[in-house]
Amino acid sequence: MGDHPRMSQFPSVNFTSTGRGLFSTEEILELMRGECDRARRYAYPLVLLRVCVDRLEQLGDLYGYESRERVLEEVGGVLCSVTRESDMLGCIIDSQFLALFPHTPAEAGRALAERLTQAAGRLAFHQGVAEVKITLSVGIALREAGVGAQLEELFSESAQSLELALAAGGNRAEVYSAPARSLTSAMKAVPADLEEIGAMLDSMLSERVQAMFESVGQKVPDFGGHEQEVLARAVKKMEEERELLVSQHREEMDTLSRRMEKLAEGLEITEEELRQALAHQGFDPGVASLYRTVQGLGAEDADEDLKRAMMSKIFEANLELKEERGEAGQPG
């Protein structure tokens, strides 16, 4: 790889026993971007492989970190052995390798991935008495000649195809294929008969209504083809009931809010009284108020008229006493 025109700009990592280096993540991405630009400009095909060692983490857990490193080194060696010097190899987050093959058509790319998995299958690691088999999963992203290649798209497609390979059990290569287009886009693409679509929707609606009745164990009534109208009325009724419930809840909330405000007012008054009581350092008018109530000195009184008359009598008796004392106190 040291012959690559731009490779000398990056310090390569001596990773493999063959003496060929692998680019770091930043380096390989930079190189790939340049290669994509050239592929678009000169209209040549590209293949991007994303390679992953199956169950590498478990291997590391079972046999230690050094075993894991040995496996990666051997796989890196295999990658180097099946690729040309003009191809670009790099690693991302350790356990995955990226390999970009310029001037490589789709069939060649698939064959390359196949060779890679087969070569890895021949690798064998001995850990004590145990022999550990190595398998690879490969995600493939392709661009035919003349189809514009964007690095981000290739990168994403290779990741998705690798996920497919891993999900299928590993030890295989998967090619990225675009998902089926949506119904909307299909409708846009294919001019459709609106009446036919309307009939289809009516049928779906009818089935849906039927399923609803069956789900609650009731016989499906005959709507006479007026399912939409029935549904509209049902929805209207439900909305009315919902409005009623909302209204009731709102009233309850209003009542609760008013009660909370009233309690808060009472709390403020009590807190103020407590504050004043504490400020008086034990001389507590609050206690006096309570005492007056306990002693029956409150404002409410059933015998108010009688008591007023009695107070007048007591006053008159005392006034008489005062006047007598005044007269007695007069000189002469």
Binding site: P285, Q295, R308, M310, K313, I314, F315, A317, L321
Partner: protein, 362 residues
């Protein structure tokens, strides 16, 4: 104007009155022969023995470090004091032929009242309006004497009948007979929905002091060698007084020629305490008999027992039994707080009295 030492004004008092009665301390006073009880509208309630003592000489004054001693303090140090009990039969002792004695009692009465008001803790900026309970049939002279000394320490004062105050405090204003047993007098009052008049009230002198006198006489008769003082006798009575039919033996240790000796005073105490029952029922009979015949039964069934003397064990039942025998029936109930019944009622009267009345009596 009040001469009573007062508390410092709290912060809120400076903010201005929030209620009509703000700035006024209402006080109810039961100025009793044995105890003076005070209830005030600020929640203070206090009772003290109606004794006032002045150091006999410079030595005792230096020893006691006070010019005047009150209540139990005064009784405790009585040997170093000129001790006064300024009330007798519920009124001031100002009728002695000895002028110096009258003067001493008046001074003691004034000091006692000043102390009672001080213990109600009026603030410096508060007007003090007091209602003082007086025996139902106290003389004009006695009433004037109380008012004269009270005006020196409160801003406005009124007197009212003690048994009426008790009934008013209990909110029992209609068809009730009140028995207020004090040390000096037993006051009976008939409440019938109007202000009781003289004919509705009876004052008896067969009260707590007469029980003491009877007990002393019985002990002297039955146990000639036993030595005791008035204070010892009062303590024995207050601890063991009972008129119950069945009671535990009352064993009391009294000195005989300097030697502590145990005496069984069960019979003496029972007899002395029972001595007040017949006069009370006599009085009840008078009040019931002169009442509207249609309401006599109801009146007999609503008898209220109050005052320190009502704490004699079994007294309510003893009066009931006597009423059954002599009046054909009756129902007697004790009030919950015998010592404060009069003061609480007087406080309630003070509180209910219109402001203008207080103003006019200033």
């Amino acid at each position: 104007m009040s001469q009573v030492p007062t508390e410092e004004s709290p912060e809120s008092a400076k903010e201005g009155p929030a209620e009509p009665e703000a700035g006024v301390l209402y006080v109810g006073i039961d100025l009793g022969t044995s105890r003076t009880s005070v209830a005030a509208s600020n929640g203070v309630r206090v009772t003290l023995a109606s004794f006032v003592g002045y150091p006999k000489d410079v030595v005792s004054k230096k020893l006691l470090k006070q010019d005047v001693l009150y209540g139990d303090d005064a009784i405790e140090h009585r040997l170093s004091l000129d001790l006064y009990r300024p009330l007798e039969h519920g009124v001031l002792k100002v009728t002695s032929e000895v002028a110096a004695e009258n003067e001493g009692n008046l001074r003691a009465s004034r000091d006692l009242l000043v102390e009672a008001i001080r213990r109600a803790r009026p603030r410096r900026d508060e007007l003090v309006y007091a209602v003082i309970g007086a025996p139902a049939q106290a003389s004009i002279t006695s009433k004037n004497a109380i008012i004269d000394i009270a005006r020196e320490c409160v801003d406005s004062v009124m007197l009212c009948s003690e048994p009426f105050a008790v009934a008013y405090g209990q909110d029992m204003l209609d068809d009730v007979l009140v028995i207020d047993i004090g040390a000096g007098t037993v006051d009976l009052c008939r409440m019938h929905g109007t202000m009781p008049e003289d004919t509705d009230q009876i004052t008896l002198e067969t009260a707590g002091d007469s029980v003491d006198a009877n007990l002393a006489e019985l002990i002297r008769e039955n146990h000639p060698g036993a030595q005791f003082s008035e204070k010892m006798l009062k303590e024995i009575k207050e601890r063991h007084s009972s008129v119950a039919e069945v009671m535990q033996p009352i064993l009391v240790t009294l000195p005989v020629a300097g030697k502590p000796t145990e005496f069984d005073l069960t019979a003496e105490i029972q007899a002395a305490c029972r001595s007040i029952v017949p006069p009370i029922v006599d009085g009840l009979g008078q009040l019931v008999g002169s009442f509207d015949p249609e309401f006599q039964e109801r009146l007999k069934d609503r008898v209220l027992l109050a005052g320190g003397g009502s704490q004699i064990k079994g007294l309510d039942l003893a009066i009931e039994r006597e009423m059954v025998e002599r009046l054909g029936g009756g129902k007697v109930s004790r009030i919950e707080e015998p010592l404060y019944g009069g003061a609480n009622g007087a406080l309630k009267i003070a509180h209910d009295m219109p402001e203008e009345f207080w103003e006019r009596l200033k």
